[in-house]
């Protein structure tokens, strides 16, 4: 507990400064560099010796170095920022920690508050804003906001992006649109950095959409093949659904929390926390923004685009899934956390929309990952599942845990994706069952990195995933008998259970994936005429071989990070530091990232983890892995050795013998039939029956009215046809009757495909509606 927080919950003044270290003030450079690189590649890329890749790599490298320096500057700022450092330019507000009156000094340049956290040091965000334009009294600003969250994202995005750039020079080498690929990688990186640095919601919307456009272009990189361009379109259109939520949510925020005056994120958050913002408006905003998260971050039921997005080149998948695009939704929730905190009343509750969406996603996608044969799709569903963890964590109020999981997940998921790309590069396929197996003999280095990534994802001690997953589980507050302590924001038992199930599932499907890819006998190499969609010039399809250094080194680096990054946030009570520095490595991440005690962040409680919980969670993961291990490594392997066949499963496993299991398997293979629901029922319904119904109304009700006859009933369709066709009115009415002798037959002719007919229906419908309004208002 933080008594000082409970007492002085939200300070009355902004904990924001606009005077700080040069690096923090100029963080926009980090986003600008890749943007410049995009333009350079576009115009000069093809003429350069490395076809434009050098621009991208140089720009992102510099950005990466700047991001590291900015991180260091932020740590210094976090620990040492005082008003003295920046003299009289920044203002100081002293909060004595007991919630007593604050002595406010406001100077022209801005306001900063000294609210203390456990270390007695204020968390002061840095914001630099310039006015873009002003209209009708509303200022439209452009600016950057730098605090722990954005600094962390800068580091993750630039690092993953740099590694992906390097990896891509080999992976897409020789591709026909190599230069374009790098141009869009740069733009993608720039968009995400722009989004992360936004200091107002308008800018966030722009960044959000830019990221969407870039992902569209990159997923459809090989658009000549229909499935790829379909996948790109699907990603784009599904995201449009969520964007409606985003727009409505942001507009609601602008009017409710921004008082119709400002788009500024910090001000909006402060207004919410200080109360006085309509709760109803916040509920609406939170629900709408959750829908936006559902599409962008691939939560149920709008996640369907994400596995299809695997049609893009593998480095892009790594970038989309680890650092950009899908984490945009999570980042947005983290940035606007007070909206959810207040709107969904996270504190003291045990269920809410966001957390439940996350929990369902986490288990649902984990199950789906079991039935995928495509290695990238396994990883895609795994990402969906892990994003479910993050959304759930945010929903239960475990802000730091969610952000920490985002951080660790970025490294091991990038590792896994790039590893799968390395394997696919060797066998020219993504199909684990047909073309892989036994790869550890051919690619020992990739194998080791992939296993490290898998273990980290499965959350085994002491790899990165363990720490972040454990922290999420602890902070659900639903541990009951497992003996956690501290003050989790709520008691989300259901979500805790789902989290546990998810941990077991994750471990199990990764075991399956590792077995099918790397163990057993090599099943590929027998069809040399395999469709080669990399357009690379290797030309030899003999034995697969280990990838080159530009693919391997990124894998090594990411593996190292997958092992180590968990150590930045040791829970309290674990490996206490030296006497000089008692905190040691404990909760460093929390200290630097979470804006505890600042004016724009709610006073979120933290649970203290227990050994029991950590052990039980690990056991659950091990049990999941063990079950899959027994099945594949022991049973299948033994049978395969005995029969000498290439096996990917037991011939009479449970799915073939048990009807219930078979039904479940079918449900999973069909991805819960969600795609059927969208294309067949919703889209088909709109195009088919609803359009038909509209036309029927037009033909029967409207024309009937014009005709002055009451021949509008369904049953009298035949009658209508006859009477009209007998020549009462020639024309539109006639058109419907000409070619058919029954009304049902007639209805099939609505889909003439002629725009003008549709337009006629639309205009007539509008006229009728307007007429109805006029009549309603008149009487």
């Amino acid at each position: 507990m933080f008594p000082h927080l409970a007492a002085g919950a939200v300070s009355e003044v902004s904990t924001v400064t606009n005077e700080a270290n040069w690096l923090l003030e100029n963080a926009w450079l980090i986003a600008l560099l890749p943007a410049i690189s995009f333009v350079l590649i576009l115009f000069f890329g093809k003429k350069m010796p490395f076809k434009g890749a050098e621009f991208g790599i140089t720009a992102v490298s510099i950005s990466f170095i700047l991001a590291i320096l900015t991180g260091a500057a932020w740590m210094d700022h976090r620990d040492n920022f005082t008003l003295d450092t920046y003299g009289e330019k920044a203002a100081v507000l002293v909060d004595d920690g007991a919630g007593s009156a604050v002595d406010s000094v406001t100077l022209a340049v801005g306001t900063a508050a000294e609210a203390t956290d456990g270390d007695g040091q204020a968390y002061v965000a840095v914001q630099k804003t310039t006015q873009w334009l002003q209209s009708g009294g509303v200022e439209f600003n452009a600016g950057i906001m730098v605090d722990g969250l954005s600094v962390m994202m800068l580091f993750v995005v630039t690092m993953i992006s740099l590694l992906v750039h390097i990896y891509s020079t080999d992976y897409v080498g020789g591709d026909r649109r190599y230069t374009h690929f790098f141009a869009f990688l740069s733009l993608f990186t720039a968009s995400m950095l722009f989004f992360v640095l936004s200091d107002n919601i308008l800018q966030m919307i722009v960044g959000w959409e830019l990221v969407g456009v870039c992902s569209f272009a990159l997923i459809g990189h090989w658009w000549e093949e229909k499935p790829n361009s379909d996948a790109a379109l699907k990603a784009f259109i599904t995201n449009r659904v969520g964007d409606v939520g985003l727009l409505v949510g942001m507009i609601t925020l602008f009017f409710a929390a921004g008082k119709g005056m400002t788009f500024d994120t910090i001000t909006i958050n402060e207004n919410i926390l200080q109360g006085g913002v309509s709760h109803t408006a916040l509920v609406v905003a939170a629900a709408c923004l959750t829908i936006a998260v559902m599409s962008k971050s691939g939560q149920f039921v709008l996640h369907t685009w994400l596995p299809d997005a695997m049609a893009g080149p593998t480095p892009v998948s790594a970038l989309i899934h680890a650092a950009t695009m899908v984490v945009a939704g999570i980042y947005m929730v983290a940035r606007l956390f007070p909206v959810f905190w207040e709107g969904m009343q996270i504190e003291g509750s045990s269920i809410n929309f966001l957390a439940t969406v996350g929990a369902v996603t986490l288990v649902g996608a984990g199950l789906l990952a079991f039935v995928q044969d495509d290695i990238k799709k396994v990883l895609a569903y795994s990402t969906v599942s892990q994003l479910g963890y993050m959304a759930m964590a945010l929903g239960v109020g475990a802000w730091t845990a969610a952000v920490f999981h985002l951080f660790t997940h970025a490294f091991f998921k990038a590792n896994l994706f790039l590893g799968s790309g390395s394997v696919a590069h060797a066998v020219h396929s993504f199909d684990m069952k047909k073309d892989m197996g036994g790869m550890r003999k051919f690619m020992p280095k990739t194998y080791v990195t992939f296993v490290i990534g898998s273990l980290a994802l499965a959350g085994l001690f002491p790899l990165a995933g363990f720490w972040s997953k454990d922290e999420i589980l602890v902070n659900t507050g639903g541990w009951g008998i497992l003996g956690g302590s501290g003050s989790a924001p709520g008691s989300y038992t259901f979500h805790f259970v789902m989290g546990m199930i998810g941990a077991a599932l994750t471990a199990a499907y990764m075991t399956r994936c590792v077995y099918l890819t790397f163990h057993g006998e090599y099943r590929g190499g027998h069809h040399d005429d395999h469709a080669d969609d990399h357009a690379d010039d290797h030309g030899h399809h003999g034995e697969p071989h280990e990838s080159g250094p530009r693919i391997l080194y990124p894998l090594y680096i990411l593996s190292a990070f997958s092992i180590l990054v968990g150590f930045v946030n040791f829970p309290p009570g674990f490996l206490a530091g030296s006497k000089k520095d008692p905190a040691g490595w404990q909760e460093r991440f929390l200290h630097f990232i979470e804006p505890a005690g600042s004016s724009y962040f709610p006073a979120v409680g933290h649970a203290t983890p227990s050994w029991w919980l950590a052990i039980v969670a690990s056991l659950v993961a091990v049990a999941g892995a063990g079950a899959a291990f027994t099945y594949y490594f022991v049973k299948v392997d033994r049978l395969a050795k005995r029969t000498g066949e290439h096996l990917v499963g037991l011939p009479n496993g449970v799915t073939t013998t048990n009807a219930f299991a078979r039904a479940g398997h079918k449900l999973l293979v069909n991805k819960y039939y969600l795609d059927h629901l969208y294309t067949g029922i919703i889209a088909g319904g709109t195009k088919g029956p609803i359009a038909k119904a509209a036309y029927w109304v037009n033909q029967n009700v409207l024309d009937g009215t014009v005709d002055g006859a009451g021949r509008t009933a369904v049953q009298s369709g035949k009658l209508v046809y006859e009477k009209i066709d007998q020549g009462v009115v020639d024309g539109a009415i006639n058109a419907s009757g000409r070619t058919s002798d029954a009304i049902g037959e007639e209805l099939r002719h609505i889909n003439t495909g002629r725009v003008q007919n549709y337009a006629a229906i639309m205009f007539a419908g509008a006229a009728i509606l307007a007429g109805a309004f006029v009549l309603l208002l008149a009487f």
């Binding site: 024309g731 009415i733 006229a767 007429g771």
Partner: protein
């Protein structure tokens, strides 16, 4: 037009204006009718000129001088020329358009009449004999002040739209 406006503010009858209005309005309606019924594409474009000019005169009646001038410049000057180019480039029969199926015409006529009925009903019902008095024509200064202060954002949006349309038209129409 300023002269007319002054006359009208003194006499309450607006006789001259109303007669003038009626003449223009009838001309416009007839011309518009010809635009949508004539079989000759070039004739239709020329009838459209008459309608557009009539609209410009209506703007003058309403005191919107700048809009009237823009109407003449942009529409009659540019848009019509564009249309005539389009007619030539598509080599659409300079003569008669093939007759349109009767059924479609009837359908369109029904929709049109229905729309008009609804609108007329609503207009007559809500505005009855509300008067619109134009004492002073709108100055260009006023309009430009409004555009560049209050309506600056829509103005910028329109600029971007025009640019996008420019690029779009090139992309759509270029040969390759």
């Amino acid at each position: 037009m300023q002269l007319l406006a002054q006359v009208s503010s003194e006499t309450d009858l607006y006789v001259a204006q109303n007669i003038f209005f009626a003449v223009i309005a009838v001309t416009m309606i007839y011309a518009a009718f010809r635009v949508v019924t004539t079989a000759n594409v070039v004739h239709a474009a020329l009838w459209l000129v008459v309608v557009l000019a009539g609209v410009a005169v209506q703007f003058l009646f309403l005191g919107a001088e700048f809009v009237a001038v823009t109407q003449v410049l942009v529409y009659i000057g540019a848009v019509i020329v564009l249309f005539l180019f389009g007619v030539m480039l598509t080599r659409a029969s300079m003569g008669d358009d093939e007759t349109v199926a009767g059924e479609k015409r009837a359908m369109a006529a029904i929709v049109g009449v229905l729309l008009f009925a609804v609108m007329a009903m609503a207009l007559v019902d809500s505005f009855e004999d509300t008067r619109v008095d134009i004492d002073q024509p709108q100055g260009v200064t006023e309009v430009s002040d409004a555009i560049f202060s209050q309506y600056i954002v829509p103005f910028e949006a329109v600029s971007v739209l025009l640019l996008a349309a420019l690029i779009g038209a090139i992309v759509v129409a270029r040969k390759d």
